[in-house]
Symmetry: D2
Subunit: 357 residues, 4 copies
């Protein structure tokens, strides 16, 4: 009887808490010893992505009701937020000859990584940037941007955005431009040319702003550095020859909320496994191989896109003994570092290689 009275008193107390806008910590506490995420490892096939984009090209017209012909890559664990990882949106986009994607801006930051097609453009704050395969195009937070295709073949690219992160921070702003196209006020490919060469800068220039002033990173220069590093034999045990795109004015991350990397897996290389408090979406730019993610083997080849959730063990293997494999990727490393939440851990057992399921 006394036990029941106590129990009843506690129940009443708990009910009273909720009536007063309170909750006992002891009722909801579930200690999380390590990061958990609803996201799962997943591969989207390149052939399927292209087929669906071509089909969308037949059915979906670009206008103010569907401003972008964008297919979001939805992680099976994240259908509620249509995201690729808990912080990253990944998507593919196609623009057909003669089309334009009208001008707007938002404080989600976006990048474009060009997959196929040559010579279409993105205009960013008055700078018209031509897009060729392997190029990276930045549209930082709150920059006006529109896309167009004045060539005679469709262009295909991958979009990466920090939208889930910005949405979870309740910090989204969006603004449409008065007209479809913004005026081009700078010479074509202004910023990439301006920073070409890389090791000198105009004497009158001072660092300003949190984002890279360089909006286009042509593939050739990136590949040249990767090739040099490969020849020098400098490589990470976990990523092989990997580089980050940087802000040329500060040497730091190009963006505050997303990191962009390109890695070259030399022929025959199989990296060791590690995990870190950051999630990644990879686009297979060249070659074929596989990654082992939390013990699951994900085979991939040119055109595929795959997601590796946060704190998941992962290792990469180039499947060819003679050809390079090149992976472009986006991640949420910069925000995790900025907030002092980043950690990484090497896989110690089995000489650093996971057992595959």
């Amino acid at each position: 009887m006394i036990g029941e009275q106590v129990s009843s008193a506690v129940e009443q107390f708990h009910a009273g808490l909720e009536a007063n806008g309170l909750q006992g910590l002891w009722r909801v506490q579930t200690q999380t010893h390590e990061p958990r995420t609803a996201a799962v490892p997943h591969v989207w096939r390149g052939a399927m992505l292209r087929e669906q984009l071509l089909r969308a090209g037949e059915l979906i017209t670009m206008d103010r009701s569907a401003e972008r012909r964008v297919l979001l890559l939805v992680n099976p664990g994240l259908r509620a937020i249509n995201a690729a990882t808990h912080t990253l949106t990944a998507a593919v986009q196609m623009i057909k000859p003669g089309e334009i994607a009208p001008t707007h801006r938002h404080n989600a930051t976006a990048i474009r990584f060009i997959i196929d097609g040559r010579g279409a453009y993105t205009t960013v704050d008055g700078e018209k940037l031509l897009m060729d395969p392997g190029d990276l195009i930045l549209t930082p937070n709150w920059t006006w941007h529109d896309h167009g295709n004045e060539t005679d073949t469709p262009i295909f690219w991958m979009d990466g955005l920090d939208r889930p992160l910005v949405a979870s921070l309740n910090a989204m702003f969006f603004e449409p431009y008065a007209e479809d196209r913004q005026a081009v006020t700078l010479p074509e490919d202004y910023s990439a040319r301006r920073y070409a060469g890389g090791h000198v800068r105009p004497t009158w220039e001072r660092p300003s702003g949190p984002f890279s002033p360089q909006h286009a990173y042509p593939f050739a220069a990136t590949y040249e550095t990767l090739s040099h590093l490969a020849r020098l034999g400098e490589a990470s045990p976990y990523d092989d020859v990997a580089v980050e795109y940087v802000n040329p004015v500060t040497g730091g991350h190009a963006l505050t909320t997303m990191g962009c990397e390109m890695q070259l897996l030399r022929p025959g290389v199989h990296t060791k496994a590690h995990r870190h408090v950051s999630s990644t979406v990879y686009q297979v730019f060249r070659g074929r191989g596989y990654s082992v993610v939390n013990g699951e083997r994900l085979d991939w080849e040119q055109g595929d896109i795959f997601a590796v959730p946060t704190w998941a063990w992962h290792e990469h293997a180039n499947g060819s003994p003679s050809e390079e494999a090149i992976l472009f990727s986006i991640n949420d490393l910069p925000p995790m570092q900025a907030l002092a939440l980043y950690r990484e851990q090497a896989y110690e057992a089995n000489n650093g290689y996971q057992d595959e399921c």
Copy 2:
């Protein structure tokens, strides 16, 4: 008929997308022109909080099943995550004479702001910190901490944590300590004493780490600066005389994921309204008055705690013509700044004052 066929083709296409782990952006896009949050302005009364804590003291025993006698302040719009704003946890906690809250660590960062009771302690990484009203105690990300009360009266404080932020980033780690109490390895109140004086530092000390090495900020020193600024007449139009707790080694934010501030509303002051991309939880340390939040008047007095969501217009009024009002607060300004998502806007109409509903 043709319209139906098209419609059917589009429907089939959309179904095919989902089967392939894709989603058309045009189907889910809801442009958010300004930040939206589920959180609402809300006040928790001090008398109620004290009453519920005392009742919890009768019913809830502190042990490894209920390690902390903590009452979470649940924003009516955020019941799903038991949070005070979308990024901040606020709570009240009571420890009775003789009790201890056992040692653990987590990479959610926490602060304690002491409301009532004198002389209980928190131990942080071997440093025993005595807690008096108005003191601020930091337990940065991954520091071992336990609490205890060796006095003969209960102690009451407010807890602030970045837990919703860290949870939304899927970055939680937690670890219990082997024993209830950690060893005290430093002299009592070591770090507050070490940094007392403020304008000099040991010659051998170098900045290191992202967090303040000072773990306790006694009220007296904070109040002295507030009083000086009040006498000098230096004040913000939106917050009156307001200071931020800083890392004495760098002059920057004390923590990476939360800001801590104390503000003194001089007698009779009514500030102008503004809004910003950061949310705030206020504890009324002294005095009485009201805030107008998105046109709603929130009256408050000593002991009350209230939440102001992100991007909400807000202004503060000291209700007394002769007495100071003092508000302690926590916010998510540091992460918003670090990620370049911070903005603020002054309320232009009506000379800067909102109409109250």
Copy 3:
């Protein structure tokens, strides 16, 4: 004969070089394996300094021809530049009741360390700073400053300037003010009060400029920190309990060209010897003891000032078993660090203590 011809050819060649504004490196090269300086260790006695200042007070009138009654402390090795070390000017100054030292500014940075007298003032950019023994007053590069004495007793202080450094960089600017006194536009002791408390700062304040915005560092706060550190037992093996005056907004050096330090030698302490690429001028604020500099013993007591040249071995001893000794000092550590020229070295032999000559 051939040797003579060669010799003659070389001589002609050397003469031709000089005629063309050239010089052969091989003719002038003297490799300096370690820093050399013309400065020597030297002590100026406090009693003598006071006597000479009083005599100057009888003979030297302050007006536009002798704007400051300043006695430069001339290192016996540096008579050509009237300096205390190769980069530092040290001097003593007295202002009698009713006198003023008229307003000017220069881009040599100066500090004042108050030795005796209470309540005279320095005005720095509109801020009137009262001067008590042990206080440090900054007049950074290009700030307007004047001194005055409205009390009925003379005031004595030590001046420290980076003048030899700025002169060797050919970078001196000087400007007299239109009137003797500048207007006081800020409340008395504005900046010291504004930054009092030390661990919080106004929310609206952003770091700006290379110099500390705090212009006065009262002795009490400095001594409190030294005492805390002494009680905690935290000390340097070379300087015992030593603190640097910092810029409260950045945590860094208060000035760019000079460092200011205060050290407390606990009763009976005898530090170990080291040397570094920076020179120092010490003022004995309290106590008595001695320093060993390059093997030479320099005895000192309250009021004395002594110079330790760059790269000279030095160690300090408090001569009393029961009383503290307190040394204030200026140095050129900040510029040496900024230019990456700083080094230090511990004295390894003899357990860290030099043999005295």
Copy 4:
């Protein structure tokens, strides 16, 4: 009589001051309203420099007694310190086929700018750097370095050092290497290749150290950026198209004590005059033209080297209507900025152009 007595008393007082190691400020004070320097504008002709180097090649043998066949460019105002400006050493050096300049290190920082000859080398901390015309080679403070010529033609370059600065700071260290040649431990031209491309960096690399880790800056990449900027029409009114060599890891100055710049004067350009608290030594890499320095016209052509003292008005003119002129230069801007001594001023009169004497 009374006047004489006073005068005699003052004289005795002054004598007493000197006997006590003191000096009255009023006796030595010479207020410097603006920077003064003993350095004068001066041109050394390229043809003369080459002729004297060739003659030195006949007469001066490189061995441990004359380790470098270096001709110092002695400013007519600075014969006492054999310097080109008060902070900078400039020199020319020739190494004949088969010769080596043995390995040593010093904490004077040096640069080499290659004038003529192709394929000789400098080895810096184990990295062998091939030297072609227009390349810049860095040997930062305390890096081991030696030079050699394994080709069949002599190589000519300009040396730039911060030696007068480091000497005036009494901070010189020097150390010979045990052997003439250091071991080559890195692939040839390692650092230039490693940082080629410029806008990406290895993911595992963290900024460290105050100096650029890139030791060679090939001419081609520098010229490409200059050409881009020229095409874009971006230029300084005082220097036309001018770039600074930067540390690719930080975006900041490549060195702490010297700045290195390259400027392209477009055909027909005549810049406006300004002056600044920094001195410069220019090498005319291409073209012909003239500079007006403090009203004096200095004509120059390819191969000439000329000095512009600190705070001297200067403007530059490309003498050709059709050919570019390219000037390489070293300066002391970085230390002046680091110490907060830098200022600049535009020439306002006469639409920005000086009258020539």
